[in-house]
Assembly symmetry: C2
Homo-oligomer: 384 residues x 2
Amino acid sequence: MTKFGKHIDQSLRSLGQQALKIAVEDANINMSQIDAAYIGNAMAGVIWGQESIRGQVVLAGTGIEGIPIFNIENACASGSSAFHLAWQAVATGVHDVVLALGVEKLYHEDKTKTFNAFKGSTDVESLNQFPGGGDDTSQSIFMNVYAREAREHMNKYGTKIETIAKVAVKNSYNGSLNPLAQYQTPKSLNTIMNSRMISDPIRLLMCSPIGDGAAAVIVCSEKFARKYTSNPIYIASSVVLSGRGHREDIDKGKVRAITKAYEMAGLGAEDLDVVEVHDGGASGEIWAYEHLQLCPEGQAGELLLSGETEIGGRIPVNPSGGLLAKGHPVGATGIAQLAEIVWQLRGQAGKRQVRNAAKVGLTHNNGGYLYGDSGAAAINVLTK
Amino acid sequence: MTKFGKHIDQSLRSLGQQALKIAVEDANINMSQIDAAYIGNAMAGVIWGQESIRGQVVLAGTGIEGIPIFNIENACASGSSAFHLAWQAVATGVHDVVLALGVEKLYHEDKTKTFNAFKGSTDVESLNQFPGGGDDTSQSIFMNVYAREAREHMNKYGTKIETIAKVAVKNSYNGSLNPLAQYQTPKSLNTIMNSRMISDPIRLLMCSPIGDGAAAVIVCSEKFARKYTSNPIYIASSVVLSGRGHREDIDKGKVRAITKAYEMAGLGAEDLDVVEVHDGGASGEIWAYEHLQLCPEGQAGELLLSGETEIGGRIPVNPSGGLLAKGHPVGATGIAQLAEIVWQLRGQAGKRQVRNAAKVGLTHNNGGYLYGDSGAAAINVLTK
């Protein structure tokens, strides 16, 4: 992956090709060995007018041409969706070596373009379905969703907002150990609780930032991998499910994807050594603990406060810094989560390496919002 | 498919759901039997601000929820690309019954939005790569590509512009037999040759129109199909390849996709009974005759003039009216081509039914433009 951050002088292409080059070199292969490419991007149409053949544009001149190239969208889960189709093509024997690449460039001098792009991740004709409505052009409307989720956990389980804010304390510290993170400064609880209110009770430093960046992975058959590496990382399961609209349980889609991913992998929460979750807002990580069954229902706050999800804990969550600190260039996020898990499983995560030799990791990525549920919920389980 | 045309009062959702309902009823299944959905749309981001989760938005409320939904783009080949991934999922046994749906809404009161969306089907940062440049906001810049292709055929083989115009004569007649076509009035050579010049030598009536519409197909395993129908249509091959940029031969990508599709199907041009080709401009059909090997190189004009590609001829091309008359709501086009071939193979094409009982049909769909080649070339061979 590229460093995530504000890359005003970079284009979608230069960001994408930077990640591609790193992935191809890491895999020790040539561009010409890639049989197909699955490109995730969610917002270049609204922000940059670059729609329709984004992947071909990003890959032009690399030699990755003349093969099947598919442009895949699922909002904040676009990267994971591209990866899922890449995995499926290899797992079913259609292709031997494929590329999954996610790229996003959110910074634009006209901020309304960026905020409008986030609206494009819901039903633009029914923005009034949104908690708080969709007419607030001063911010990403998605923070209204995280605010609602925060209030729900607080009301239902008595969780304090300070506890939710401590997700951001942890992840900002983790980000300070990640040279590719957008923000590398640890933030205190006090600083976070005094940052500007965005959508009550979510404050600025409990929100993932606007950012630019790209990430790429090479997915190949085991036979191919064995020729190039002695320590391949395996995909134990990969699941993408859309949410169920018009239902009471807002998290049904997410939970179903997790259950399916555990079943497919033949593994459970107790087997996980490291996890990257979708903390678009700090409350996202709180709910994820319970959905992933890292703790019983209602006890996510306790799990966080116990320190067990810190890098040195029993089940480290978001050692990369997560979306809150590493950043969230939308289409790149899911693949950057996979990159982090690969590095953690290989023992290449530097200062943020989880303590024990990790053998099983999981990525949890959600995209879009539609009538009370995710547009897409994506879970991957990786093993070494 | 829906009728193609100007549907000002319809939304992406209402168009998409209309096609979905027709497809599901035709297949005699329930919405709940669909295991996954692949949605093709190319331009709703730029035109409508609806990006990221277009498929989920279109399908909301239909009961097609909680399954994998993938949003697929490849410019004018978006529908075919969605179909290809749908086919692949069934062919490899990942899913048993899936939906491929293409939908587009191009008419907007602000025409510059629509024209900008077409720019998004090339590299927006390098529009000067375009023949004639990309700064003409008065029309779809793609007509400059068709104009260049027309000039090439004229210069290389002495083809007359009146011959190329006769593609539009034929297809406007075919469209007059198709109740779902956007234009159902036969046009004379004289009318076409006197229509406004768009990009020399391509005139208005040699261009596919702006339009709205949707089309859907149900793809399933043979075992499943046998339970619901005694006359299934088989997918003999499905190919999507991106073009090769920076190369001299502009059509290399298209020709490679055709060759691969014939090989995969174990069939050749001589086996085809009916073909739908990508006549975004009239010159597109001329070149397609040769790429598909319906005639030797340089003899496309003669083939057209012989009448053999008319509905009553040896190898009818675009009996639906093609993009020129049936219309070209971008993301829907590839799937509408498949619908036409299915109807022709079933003998359900009404007044435009090809003469002999057709057994083998082909769709030819291209998308986007990048440095002298297609962004994506998609070919499907169907048999009964």
